[in-house]
Each structure stands twice: as C-alpha cells, then as structure tokens.
C-alpha cells in the first residue's frame, strides 16, 4: 500500500516535468519548421530569408533584455495575428489560421527557453 502511495506521489510530482519536456520538444520542432525560416534555427534572427533585401530584422529571441520587455500574451498575439498587431512589420505572418492553440502555447514556451526569461507579466 505504501509502495503504491509512493509511486502515485512520484507520478504526481514528476508529471509537470515530463509535460514541460514534451512541450519543449514540440515547441522546438514547430520553431524549426515554421519560424526558423526567418528567425534562424537558433532563434537569433538570422534565417535564410534574411537576405540584403529583407526589409526588417527578425527578432533575436536570445536577447534576454529585449524579450523581458514583452509578455507571453504579446508573443501569442503576434504569432496569431502577425507583426502589424504590435506595430511591427507584416513580414511576420499571421499564423493563427495555421497553428493550433496548443502549438502556439508550445512555441511561446520554447521562445521563453531561448531567451531564458519569463517576460513581462500581465
């Protein structure tokens, strides 16, 4: 009985860790497929589309200080509606009709890993 209880406790305790890892893995795959084209495979804003013709600098997600200034909601909104929703360039497409809510959340989580920051709250 005690053993069963301890196992249950372990599962409850480690659940969020495993869930977090799965989300990060999905976020990384999604980022590599959709976002790296412009933001680069490491998220440094240097994807293959950023040629001399590209009219703006895609955000470098590893710049912690800059990423701290924006909230998860800000990130979510730009992913869904594109750059213009935050007065940024239309070169950032609206992905709201492409990605599911869960995929968008996974991406927000992955960007927070890249910046190693939590961002503005509220």
């Amino acid at each position: 009985m005690t053993r069963v209880f301890l196992m249950a406790l372990l599962i409850v305790a480690l659940g969020p860790v495993f869930t977090g890892a799965a989300q990060a893995a999905d976020g990384k795959a999604l980022f590599g497929f959709y976002c790296a084209q412009c933001h680069g495979t490491e998220g440094e804003g240097d994807g293959p589309n950023v040629t001399g013709d590209f009219p703006v600098d895609p955000r470098n997600f590893t710049e912690t200080a800059e990423m701290e200034k924006i909230s998860d909601a800000d990130i979510r909104n730009v992913i869904i509606d594109g750059g213009p929703i935050a007065d940024k360039s239309p070169m950032m497409p609206p992905w709201g009709k492409t990605l599911t809510d869960a995929e968008i959340e996974a991406l927000v989580g992955y960007l927070r890993q890249l910046c190693n920051c939590t961002g503005k709250t509220g």
Binding site: F33, Q37, P48, D53, F54, G82, P90, M91, K97, T98
Partner: protein, 220 residues
C-alpha cells in the same frame, strides 16, 4: 449534309488526338515509373501528411495534382533540363539546393509531361483567375500587406528580390497555372496539409486571393 461532311473528319481527328494523348500519357507513366521518379514524388492523392514528421519524410514535392499546378510547355522543357526552383533543398531550412535533379531524355520528357498533366485536382476551377499584364492590388498584397516576398523570390525591375525558404516565383507566369495558385490559397490543406507557408484563409478575402494569383501570373 455539307455540315455532316465537315463535322465527321473533325470528330475523327478529335478521337485520334485524344487517343494519342492517352497513349503518350500511358507511355509517360511507364517512363516515370521506370526512371524511379516515384522514390521522391508521390502521384496518388489525396494528401495524407498529418504531422511535421510526415512532411519532413517526403523527399520531393507531391505530384498528384501536377496537371492542375503546372503549365505543360514549361513542364516538358523543365523535365529535359531541370534547374532548381527552390533556393533551399526540399524540406531544409538551411541547406542550399544542390541541384542535380534527374534529367529525362527529349524522348521521355514529352510523354512524362503528358502523364503528369493527366494528374488533376477537381477543386481547381479553370478560368477562375483573369490574368492581365498588371495587377496592382495583387502586387501591393504580395510586396507590402502580406509577407509573400519574405519567403519567395520574385522578379523586379533590377533583377529579382525576396526570401529563400519558399519555392522561387521567378518565371511563375510560365510555370504555374494561376487557377491552381488560387485553389492553393483557398484550400491549402487539400494540397499540402503540413507546410512552412502560413494559411491565408480568413486572412485574405477571395477577391484578394484572385488578385495575388493574377499578380504571380505576371512573373517572368
């Protein structure tokens, strides 16, 4: 009687022409299969990809709607002298396209083009896009309002511009069927359920999609 006399030869010619086309398509299918094209291109629709992994497992673009997507003269020429369409390798974000697509002989290119042109999607509406010399609304959407130019190269007065991750649209006016471009914008997941390009359904109006397709059709 006079009318019947002129209609009969025309009918015979029509039957003979369509029989020849079918024969060429059959010969083309045989050449397509014996050349190993199927190892990279699937020709049976509908699309079945469900995940990013499914898409990344593909070695080349699907061809099950090739006859709706391409223009035949371009296709035959390209099969005999294939030049890279994508600046980057298929399904790769960072690796440049090394080229080296298999080349078909002049004898094979025609029949294979016939075969590929026989592969059609019934959601592509013939004549839906009216192509003119210019479509300024489409141009504005392509360059300014939407991020199309961020991923697709396109011709400019100087030479060309645009990003590298998507297929180049230089020469798209000769390569792509504008009606397919519209169908792809309208119902992208029918053709490519999982793709690096955003879905613009609900973002662009149907009219704007037509304008974009008409603008792409002007690309030389």
């Amino acid at each position: 009687m006079k009318t019947g006399a002129s209609v009969f030869p025309a009918l015979v010619l029509l039957v003979m022409t369509s029989s020849l086309a079918r024969a060429d398509a059959a010969a083309g299918q045989a050449a397509f299969e014996s050349s190993g094209c199927q190892s990279c291109h699937y020709t049976q629709g509908p699309a079945t990809e469900k995940t990013i992994a499914d898409q990344l497992a593909k070695k080349g673009p699907e061809l099950w709607y090739a006859g709706s997507k391409f223009q035949r003269p371009w296709l035959e020429t390209w099969l005999a002298d294939p030049q890279p369409i994508r600046p980057m390798k298929f399904n790769s974000v960072m690796e440049p396209n090394p080229g080296g697509h298999a080349v078909l002989s002049a004898d094979q290119a025609g029949p294979v083009a016939d075969y590929l042109m026989s592969l059609r999607s019934d959601i592509v509406v013939d004549g839906a896009v009216k192509v003119k010399k210019k479509n300024l609304k489409g141009k504005l959407i392509f360059i300014k309002k939407m991020p199309c130019s961020g991923c697709h190269q396109f011709p400019t007065k100087k030479k060309f511009s645009g990003g590298l991750s998507g297929p180049s649209l230089i020469g798209a006016g000769e390569r792509l069927n504008p009606d397919w471009v519209l169908a792809y914008l309208r119902e992208p997941k029918v053709f490519k359920p999982v793709k690096m390009m955003p879905v613009f359904v609900g973002v662009l109006s149907d009219k704007d999609m037509k304008n974009v397709a008409a603008h792409v059709a002007t690309f030389k």
